[in-house]
C-alpha cells in the first residue's frame, strides 16, 4: 500500500467542489422527511457489538495502515518511539455547515489543514488500531454536504453503496478495534437531521449534549477504539520516569529518575511512603523562634504560615508526602486568610502536619483529625460552637454543611465511576437537604481550644491580657458537655439519639459520612484532577474509587492504596495522554515555583525561608500555599472555562479559574525575575517580617548541573525539557529556544554571569511555554 493512498491528488481536489459552502440539505433530494431520508443508514445505524463482530472482512484496502508504519508516522520520525506509540484519528469540522471529517493519516490531515480552510481542525478524536488486528472502517463522501460517513459494518457499507448514489464510496480508512479487545471503548454515532452529516465521538457527554438538541439524533455505537497499553512496572526511559515523578511529587532529579528506573514505580512509591519525614512544620516554627511571646506579635502573625509552607514544599526530604499533603490541602481546605485566631500560624502548621502525616494513612483517621484540629475549628466555626438556646440561638451549620458538600460526599449521589445518578425522571439526586445540615450541626457543638498543657504569659504590650502558649494548636479541641446539643440528630439515614455522649455522636456522624458510597468517587476524582488530569475517564475514577472502597485487604479509605492507584493507572502512565488533545491539567502556579526551586538547587542561605504570600494576580503567582480565598479552593473541580473549546466539549479545567489576562502576565514577569536573580527578601537574618530595607537574594537557584553544560545550548534545553516537561516539549520548540540562546554564544570560559543569563533565559522560555504549563 503506497503511503499516498489517501493523498492522491485526485482525492481531495475531487472532493473540493463538495467542500464548497453548500446549502444545508437533507442527505437525499425529494419530499421525504429527514428521518425517512436517512432510513437506509438508520435501519442499520443502531449498531451493536454483534453487527460489528459480524463485519470486518478485511478485504478493503486498510489505508490507515500507512500510519502504522514507523516511517509514515511523523510523530515517530521526530520523537522517540516511546512517546508517540498510538496513531490518532483526527477530527475536522466543516465550518460552513457543521459536517465532520475524520482521518487517521497524518499527511492527509496536514493537507486538509493547509488547503481546506473550511475545515476546522478539532484535534484527536480517538485512536486507530493496528490494521492487522483491527476492524476496517469504510468511508463515504457525502456529495451534497461535503461531510463524511463511516461504517465498520460490511453489510451497511454494501447497503449504502447500493442505495445511496449521493454517498461516494472511498474505500477503507483507519482501523477500529475489535469490540472484545482489552480496553475497547465505544465510538458513538450521531446523525444531523438537518443536513445529513454524521458525528462520531468517544465522549458520552458530547453525545448527550448533541442529542439533547433537536439537531442531532444519537444512533448508538458505530465501532470501538482502544488506547494501547504500554505500562510496565518500570519506566522504559528517563522521560517516562520524569513524567511519573512530576505527577507524584514536585520535581525530578537525575538521582530520582535513576531510582525509579532501577526500582520500578511501585517499589519506589513504597519506599517514599515509608521515607522519614523531615522536621514537621509546627516544630520548624517553634525552632525558628515563632513561639515566643514578645513584641513581635507572633501570636497574631500570618506570615510564618507562608514561611513554613514554602520551606516544607521546597526543602522537606519527603517530597511525595508533601505533594500529596498539598493536594489534600486543596480538598480539605483551611486557609490562613480565614484563621484569625491566637497562634494562627501554629494552628495552620498543625493542620499541615496532619495532612502530611496522614497522606499515606487512613481517610477515616484524617477526617477525625481535621474535624477536631484548631485550624479547622476556627476556619469553619466548630471551635466555640454551642447548642441551641431558648432565645433562638442555633448551632453553627458551617462545618456540618461543608464537611458534606466538600470533604466527603458532595451534593449529588454518584455512581462508583463518579458520574451522577439519575432518578426516574432523569434528575440528579441530592445527597442531603437543609434538615440534614441542621441536624448534623448539633453533633459539632461543644468544642473549644484545649489549653490544658499551656502556660500563660503577660502580654508584652501590658494591656492586661494573658497569652497562652502554643501547644493547644496541635491538640484536638476539647469537648465541653454543657455546650453540646442534647437534641436528637437525624441525618443521612443515621439517628443520634437524644443525650448521646459527644464522642459517640461524633464517631457516628463521621462513620456515616466515611461509609457513604460517594466518598470514593468524589474524593478520588478530585485527587486525580490534582495529580494527573482534569477530565479523568469514568473508568479511571471507578478503578480508583474501588481501591478506596477496598484496598484489596478489606480496608476502606487506605490513602496509600488510593494514591498508588491514581499514579499507576493506565490513564496516568499510558502514552495515550501524550497525544490526546484534552488530557492533562494546567500546572498550578505554586507548584511551578516549587518545581523550579527543587530542580535547580535552591536553598535559603539563612535558613529562614522568608517567602511571603504569592497570591498577587498581577505581580506574583495568583496562588499561594494554604491561602485559598475560600473553603472552595483556588478553583472548583467542575470549573469549565467559558467561551473555549473546553466549554464546547463540556470539559472541566479547574486551574483555568485563576488563568486570566492579568495572571498570565504576572506569572511571566515574576518567573523572569526569580529565574535569574532568585527570590528577594528583606533582612533574612531576623525571623520577623521586615518591609523596608535592601533586597537580599537569600534564595537562589545554584544551577550547578546546568552551568556545566551551558555552552551547549542543545544539551541545556534537552535537560530542561526532561526535568521540567518530562520530555513533552516538541522538537520545534526546543529548536526555537536553542536558536534564540545561540545568538549569544557561550563557551566554557565565559563568565558565570553570562552562563546564568543563558540558563535563566532557557528556564524562562521553557516555563513560559504552553507545553510546560500543561502537564500531560
Amino acid at each position: 500500500m503506497p503511503d499516498t493512498d489517501l493523498l492522491e491528488r485526485e482525492h481531495l481536489p475531487s472532493a473540493s467542489p463538495d467542500l464548497a459552502p453548500a446549502p444545508a440539505l437533507p442527505p437525499r433530494e425529494g419530499g421525504e422527511s429527514a428521518a425517512g431520508a436517512l432510513t437506509p443508514l438508520v435501519s442499520l445505524g443502531v449498531l451493536g457489538a454483534s453487527l460489528l463482530a459480524a463485519c470486518g472482512d478485511g478485504s478493503g484496502e486498510a489505508s490507515g495502515a500507512a500510519a502504522q508504519r514507523p516511517g509514515a508516522n511523523p510523530g515517530a520520525a521526530t520523537t522517540k518511539a516511546n512517546e508517540v506509540p498510538a496513531a490518532a484519528v483526527y477530527r475536522f469540522a466543516k465550518i460552513s455547515n457543521g459536517a465532520y471529517f475524520y482521518t487517521g493519516n497524518q499527511a492527509e490531515k496536514d493537507l486538509v489543514l493547509r488547503d481546506f480552510p473550511d475545515f476546522r481542525y478539532e484535534g484527536v478524536a480517538f485512536y486507530q488500531s493496528p490494521a492487522q488486528t483491527g476492524v476496517p472502517v469504510y468511508r463515504f463522501a457525502n456529495l451534497a454536504n461535503g461531510g463524511y460517513f463511516y461504517t465498520a459494518s460490511a453489510a451497511e457499507r454494501d447497503g449504502v453503496i447500493r442505495d445511496r448514489p449521493d454517498l461516494r464510496f472511498e474505500g477503507s480508512t483507519f482501523a477500529a478495534a475489535q469490540p472484545d479487545a482489552r480496553g475497547a471503548a465505544p465510538i458513538y454515532r450521531l446523525a444531523n437531521l438537518t443536513n445529513g452529516a454524521y458525528l462520531y465521538t468517544a465522549s458520552a457527554p458530547e453525545r448527550d449534549a448533541a442529542a439533547a438538541t433537536t439537531l442531532w439524533r444519537s444512533e448508538g455505537i458505530a465501532f470501538y477504539t482502544t488506547t494501547p497499553s504500554s505500562i510496565g512496572a518500570t519506566p522504559q526511559s528517563d522521560i517516562e520516569a520524569a513524567r511519573f515523578l512530576l505527577q507524584a511529587q514536585f520535581s525530578a532529579s537525575d538521582a530520582e529518575i535513576s531510582a525509579v528506573r532501577a526500582k520500578g514505580y511501585s517499589a519506589w512509591l513504597d519506599e517514599q511512603f515509608n521515607a522519614p519525614t523531615g522536621v514537621k512544620a509546627w516544630d520548624w516554627l517553634q525552632g525558628r523562634g515563632y513561639g515566643a511571646i514578645d513584641t513581635r506579635n507572633y501570636y497574631n502573625a500570618e506570615y510564618p504560615t507562608d514561611f513554613f509552607a514554602w520551606q516544607q514544599l521546597m526543602a522537606a526530604p519527603d517530597a511525595l508526602r508533601k505533594r500529596l499533603a498539598l493536594a489534600l490541602s486543596e480538598f480539605f481546605v483551611v486557609s490562613i486568610e480565614g484563621v484569625s485566631s491566637l497562634w494562627r500560624s501554629q494552628s495552620m502548621a498543625a493542620y499541615w502536619d496532619i495532612l502530611a502525616t496522614n497522606a499515606g494513612g487512613s481517610f477515616r483517621k484524617l477526617l477525625d483529625d481535621i474535624t477536631l484540629c484548631v485550624a479547622m475549628g476556627v476556619y469553619l466555626n466548630t471551635r466555640g460552637n454551642q447548642k441551641e438556646d431558648a432565645r433562638g440561638r442555633q448551632p453553627d451549620e458551617n462545618y456540618a454543611r461543608e464537611v458534606m458538600q466538600l470533604f466527603t460526599i458532595g451534593l449529588y449521589q454518584l455512581n462508583n465511576d463518579g458520574t451522577e445518578k439519575r432518578d426516574a425522571s432523569g434528575s440528579r439526586i441530592e445527597t442531603y437537604n437543609q434538615s440534614d445540615v441542621s441536624n448534623l450541626a448539633r453533633v459539632f457543638t461543644g468544642y473549644d481550644n484545649d489549653f490544658s498543657t499551656d502556660t500563660q504569659t503577660a502580654n508584652p504590650f501590658d494591656d492586661g491580657r494573658q497569652i497562652y502558649s502554643t501547644n493547644f494548636t496541635r491538640l484536638p479541641m476539647r469537648f465541653i458537655a454543657g455546650r453540646h446539643s442534647t437534641l436528637e440528630a437525624k441525618f443521612l439515614g443515621t439517628t443520634v439519639a437524644p443525650g448521646t455522649p459527644g464522642a459517640t455522636a461524633l464517631k457516628s456522624a463521621l462513620d456515616t459520612l466515611f461509609n457513604h458510597a460517594n466518598v470514593g468517587p468524589f474524593f478520588g476524582r478530585q485527587m486525580i484532577q490534582r495529580l494527573v488530569t482534569s477530565n479523568p475517564s469514568p473508568a479511571y475514577v471507578g478503578r480508583v474509587a474501588s481501591v478506596f472502597n477496598d484496598n484489596g485487604a478489606g480496608v476502606r479509605g487506605d490513602l496509600k492504596a488510593l494514591f498508588t492507584a491514581i499514579l499507576l493507572d493506565d490513564e496516568a502512565r499510558g502514552p495515550q495522554g501524550l497525544t490526546s488533545p484534552g488530557f492533562g491539567k494546567v500546572r498550578e502556579p505554586m507548584i511551578r515555583l516549587v518545581q523550579w526551586a527543587r530542580s535547580f538547587g535552591l536553598t535559603s542561605v539563612s535558613g529562614s525561608w522568608k517567602i511571603t504570600d504569592m497570591s498577587s494576580p498581577s505581580a506574583r503567582l495568583a496562588q499561594s500555599p494554604l491561602r485559598s480565598p475560600s473553603v472552595f479552593n483556588y478553583f472548583r473541580p467542575g470549573y469549565v472555562p467559558p467561551a473555549t473549546a473546553l466549554a464546547l466539549a463540556g470539559a472541566a479545567a479547574p486551574e483555568f479559574q485563576i488563568v486570566s489576562e492579568t495572571t498570565v502576565s504576572g506569572y511571566l514577569n515574576f518567573i523572569q525575575d526569580v529565574t535569574r536573580r532568585g527570590i528577594a527578601v528583606k533582612n533574612p537574618l531576623v525571623p520577623y517580617q521586615v518591609n523596608a530595607g535592601a533586597d537580599v537574594f537569600d534564595m537562589q537557584a545554584s544551577y550547578v548541573n546546568e552551568l556545566a553544560i551551558a555552552p551547549d545550548a542543545g544539551a541545556l534545553v534537552q535537560r530542561l525539557n526532561l526535568l521540567l516537561c518530562a520530555g513533552q516539549m516538541s522538537t520545534q520548540n526546543q529548536s526555537l529556544i536553542v536558536d534564540a540562546l545561540t545568538v549569544s554564544p557561550i563557551t566554557a570560559t565565559s563568565s558565570d554571569s553570562a552562563k546564568l543569563d543563558r540558563i535563566a533565559s532557557a528556564v524562562l522560555l521553557v516555563m513560559a511555554s504552553a507545553e510546560y504549563l500543561v502537564q500531560k
Partner: protein, 485 residues
Amino acid sequence: MHLLRPEFHDRRAFLRRSSQLALTGAALPVALNLAAMGEAAAFTATDYKALVCVFLYGGSDYANSVVTYDSPSYDLYSAVRGGGAGQTAGGIALGRSDLTATLLTPTAALASGRQYALHPAMTGLAGLFSSGKAAVQLNVGPLVVPLTKTQYNNPDRKTYPLPPKLFSHNDQQSVWQSSSPEGSTVGWGGNMGDLAMSGNSNSLFTCISATGNSVYLVGDTALQYQVSTTGAVPINGVKSAVNGSAAVKTALTTLIQQTRTQVLENEYNKITQRSIAAETQITGALAGVALATAFPANNSLGDQLKIVARLIAARGALGSKRQVFFVSLGGFDLHDNLIAQQPGLLGNVSSAMTAFYNATVEMGLADKVTSFTTSDFGRTLSSNGDGSDHGWGGHHFVVGGAVKGKAFYGTPAPVSNLDTSSPDDQWHVGQGRLLPSTSVDQYAATLAKWFGVSATEMAGVLPNINHFGTAGGRADYPSDLGFLA
C-alpha cells in the same frame, strides 16, 4: 417547563455557540476583533452606558446591613439577635440609637410604619439615598417561580420548583450570576455583552472584571477581560530584551502566543494573546485619563472601582459604548465575629460605591452608569452565637444618577424566625432565612432594560424571566421593578 435548569440554559448556550463557532471557525480572528462574531441583534445606541455589578462574596447579612428600625420591628430583631435591654446593642444586634445617623427617609414612607436604617458604617450610601441617587431593593433572591411559604413546603417540585442548591455558597453565587448552579458557563452580564459588543470598537472591552474570574461576565460570544487594579499588566519579556538578549525576547513572544493543537495549551495561549493585544490599548488609553475623585485607601473594592472609573473615563480612546463591569469584595461569610467584622466590610462597600458615584459625576456620566450589589445569599436572622448562617433572600443597593432613589422597592418582610401559621411568619423558611418576594430575574431585568435590552431579547439574557411579570401572569412580580428611569 421551568427554565431555571442547567440543562436548558446549557442547551440554549450550546446552540448559540455551535452556530457561532460554525460561522467563525477555528481560525478565530484576533481576539479584539470578536465583534465580527457578535449576534446580529445589537444595540444601536450612540450614547454611553455601563452597569457595574458589585458582588459581596460569602453571603451578606441582610439584617445588619439594612436594619429594621421602627420600634416594634426593631424589638423583634433585637429579641432574636440577642440585643441588650433598652434597645441597646447585644449579641449580634446593633443598638438602635447607633442607627439614627443612617436612618433612611424615603420620599414615600413604607406601609405600616416600617422603617429601615443602614449599618452605622454605611454613611456614604445613606447620603446617596437621601440625595435620591441610591435605592434599596428589599428581599431579593433566586426564584424559579413566585413562591409562598406553603408552596415552598409543598413537596410537588414540578409545580413549585426551587432554585438548585439553596444555601450553598458556590452554587448560589452561580445562580445569582447565571441562573444556574456551579458549572454554568454563561451569565446574564455576559449575555448583555453579547448584545452590546458589536457597538464597541473593541468588543473585548465589553465585559471587564477587575477581580477574579466570574461566570457573570461570560456570554455566548462575549469574553471576560480581566484587568488589574493598576490597569493592564505588560509582559516585561515581550516589551524589552530578556537577560540582555533580544533573541530571547523574540522567542518568548512567539512561544507564549503559539497556536497549539493540545486544547488546554491552546486555550492558555489564547489568553496570553489577548493579554498582550489588550495591554497595549488599555495602557495607551489610560495614559490620557486624569480623574480627580478620591477613592478610599486600603479598600480593595475601592481600588477595583477606581480602575473601572478610569476605564470608563477612557471610553473614547477604547471606543466603548456599552460596558458591563464586575467587582467584588469577600469576607461576608460571618458565622463568627459578625459584629466585629461588619463595620469594616460594609464601610468599605459604602465608601467605595460612594467614591465611584462621585467619579461618575466628575465625568458627567452619573446618569449613564449604574452600580448594584449582589451576594451569594442573605443570612439567617437567628444567631448562632457570634454570627449568622446561610440564608436566601437579602436586601441590595442600586446606585447612580439614573436611579429613582430615596425609595425602597419590593416588600418589607416581617421580622420573624418563628414557624407558626401567623401571617408574620410566612416570609422566611426557618431561622429567619428570607423567602424572596422579588426574584433575581426581576432585579436583573430592570437593570438590563435600562441598559438597552429589549423586551424580546430579555429571555435570551434571563431565561427565567417569563415566569414573572405579565408574561408569566404575575403582575405582582413585575419584570420592571421601576428603580431606574
